[in-house]
């Protein structure tokens, strides 16, 4: 690799070492960690701010509106205004609420959301902690979010928030299973739970094509299943039942106002970024460039470009689809997602043991497509749901 390109790629790593280098050797490792944490907090908080604007503008354009365009150039300072607003608003706590738990819930949520970034490699050599059980760490931290959601919903002493918390926990637990199972195929292929080595597995190229896991039948299916489960995990439309604006108003955070509400908002978006980031790490080659001739672009830019693409897809879906109902959501999880992920694990095994070639592709594709069609028919409950024709009276 050309040294200038390499420098550009490693500029943040070098900067970190340079700054840490000013300190005595004893503190250097801890300074390294602190600098990384600061970087993660700043970058992803900034991304959150940008995403709120992009989401509102994107949704606006989908709905033939302008979206926010008053604060700053093209409305891009809107998050600043929102931040000032949420900071200056009165922090209301219901009198019957469990004060301590009510206070801790948003804090725990944001902490849990930020913790997940520790194992996400956002660029070459750019990961806070290369744990050898990195993926497991990610899911373990994810469970804290459930706890935070429960705390918020229960402590508010509001029936809507209780319903929201119940929905949220049921949904998150149900979709955690397919989420983990969908990522198992990658762990099988990579033979490692470490996010860094999973990405390293995908950095090679055949010709110009990358070795991303998404470019295999099981990887493609796994990616789609993972994204569906991730959408449900991060409470995004069409799985936004825990918030269910039109049904249970705001769900578990109905009784939060001001900055705590903003923290919930932040936590939710951070969760979305984190799961998207994991999907990128597992299936889309992490920070690896999509084509071999594009490797000169710094790795972290690729990671964030992919992340923004995922966010755009999230926004697009949110602008289009209505919400599912609770029982349908559960049916979908247990009748479609779970069998499909299990079949996908099987297909990945078959892929692993078959010799390479077209036949392997065909076998795996058939293994996945046939059950998908059959299961989706089952979801329609034997043609119970279909477009109808109508008669007219004169």
């Amino acid at each position: 690799m050309h040294s200038a390109i390499q420098q550009a790629d490693q500029i943040f790593v070098a900067l970190q070492h340079r700054v840490a280098g000013y300190l005595p050797v004893k503190f250097q490792s801890i300074a390294d960690v602190i600098l990384s944490v600061i970087a993660i907090v700043l970058v992803f908080a900034f991304l959150f701010a940008v995403t709120t604007v992009l989401e509102r503008k994107g949704l606006g354009r989908i709905q033939n509106r302008y979206g926010p365009n008053r604060v700053g150039p093209a409305g891009f300072f809107q998050p600043l205004a929102d931040g000032v607003k949420s900071l200056t608003k009165e922090d209301l706590v219901p009198r019957a609420a469990d004060q301590a738990v009510h206070f801790m819930a948003p804090v725990l949520l944001v902490i849990a959301a930020f913790l997940a970034y520790a194992v996400l490699p956002v660029g070459r050599n750019m990961v806070l902690a290369d744990l050898n059980a990195g993926v497991l760490f990610f899911f373990a931290v994810g469970t804290l979010v459930e706890l935070a959601v429960f705390m918020a919903g229960w402590s508010s002493r509001n029936k809507y928030s209780l319903l929201g918390a119940m929905r949220a926990i049921a949904q998150m637990i149900s979709y955690e299973v397919p989420l983990v199972l969908a990522s198992i195929v990658v762990i099988m292929a990579a033979g490692s739970l470490s996010t860094v080595s999973i990405v390293n597995m995908q950095t090679g190229y055949s010709g110009i094509w990358p070795h991303w896991f998404v470019l295999t039948p099981w990887g493609f299916a796994g990616f789609n299943l993972f994204m569906i489960a991730a959408t449900a995990e991060s409470n995004r439309s069409p799985f936004d039942l825990p918030e269910g604006e039109s049904e249970i108003i705001a769900g578990y955070y109905i009784e939060y106002s001001g900055f705590k509400f903003a923290l919930f908002f932040l936590g939710e978006y951070l969760g979305m970024f984190a799961t998207s980031g994991l999907a990128i790490t597992l299936f889309l080659g992490g920070w690896a460039a999509p084509f071999s001739f594009l490797t000169w672009i710094p790795s972290y830019l690729w990671f964030f470009a992919k992340l923004l693409l995922m966010i755009a897809i999230f926004i697009w879906i949110r602008g289009t689809l209505p919400r599912l109902r609770m029982d349908q959501l559960m049916n979908f999880a247990w009748q479609f997602m779970l069998p499909m992920t299990l079949i996908n694990v099987f297909a990945a095994g078959v892929w692993h043991f078959m010799p390479g070639g077209v036949i392997r592709w065909l076998v795996c594709a058939v293994l996945l497509i046939v059950p998908a069609v059959l299961l989706s028919r089952g979801l329609k409950q034997g043609k119970k749901f279909e477009a109808r024709t109508y008669r007219f009276a004169e």
């Binding site: 994107g58 354009r61 989908i62 697009w316 602008g319 689809l321 989706s376 979801l379």
Partner: protein, 203 residues
């Protein structure tokens, strides 16, 4: 296959997303304070009292007949009649309102007062920026606040105003002819009424 309709919907939203950048027609939003829609002639919002000529007190067409006060559905008009008379728009001596108040916060801009007025004295305005920081006196408009010139009427509703002016001119001619006849019949009578206000005759 499951998901077909979802994909169709996604294609549709994508089309609208891109379309909003290409075709201006898709974006119906008007950036209000800077951008304004052209005024629609028929638009109505809150009545005003028409006066002819320069002096709003002299030219007020209202003769305080109380019809609008009675007919107003939300009863937001309050009138007090004068004790003396002054010539009205067509030249007849008539009473005039000493007090004419309309409560902006009660009025629902239904135009009934305009329809029932036999003197074309009250018409609908088009000004919709009526907000004020004083919700009591700021929203109770008196005679002075309500009075607007015939020119203003012509500006906002040209077609309608032209018809009204033609009617008034015809009536004025009739009254003048009658007065002339009366004056000829009784030359010794008191001096005739002052000449009609010039503004209305210009048209």
């Amino acid at each position: 296959m499951f998901g077909e309709g979802i994909l169709k919907g996604l294609a549709e939203t994508a089309r609208n997303f891109l379309g909003s950048y290409v075709s201006k027609k898709r974006l119906t939003t008007v950036q209000y304070p800077e951008e304004r829609l052209p005024q629609i002639e028929a638009y109505r919002n809150f009545p005003f009292l028409v006066y002819d000529g320069e002096d709003w007190q002299q030219g007020l067409r209202c003769v305080s007949c109380f019809i609008c006060e009675k007919e107003c559905p939300p009863k937001c008009i309050f009138i007090e009649k004068s004790t003396d008379k002054k010539p009205d728009a067509v030249g007849k001596p008539q009473f005039y309102p000493t007090v004419f108040n309309i409560d902006v916060s009660v009025c629902m801009s239904c135009q009934i007062c305009v329809e029932v007025c036999p003197f074309d004295a009250i018409k609908m305005d088009t000004d919709f920026e009526l907000s004020t920081d004083n919700r009591f006196s700021g929203l109770l408009w008196d005679k002075k606040h309500l009075a607007k010139s015939n020119e203003h009427y012509h500006k906002i509703h040209p077609t309608e105003a032209a018809v009204v002016d033609a009617q008034l001119a015809a009536e004025r001619a009739k009254v003048a002819a009658k007065a002339k006849a009366a004056a000829e019949a009784k030359p010794a009578a008191a001096p005739a009424t002052p000449p009609p206000v010039p503004a209305a005759t210009e048209k």
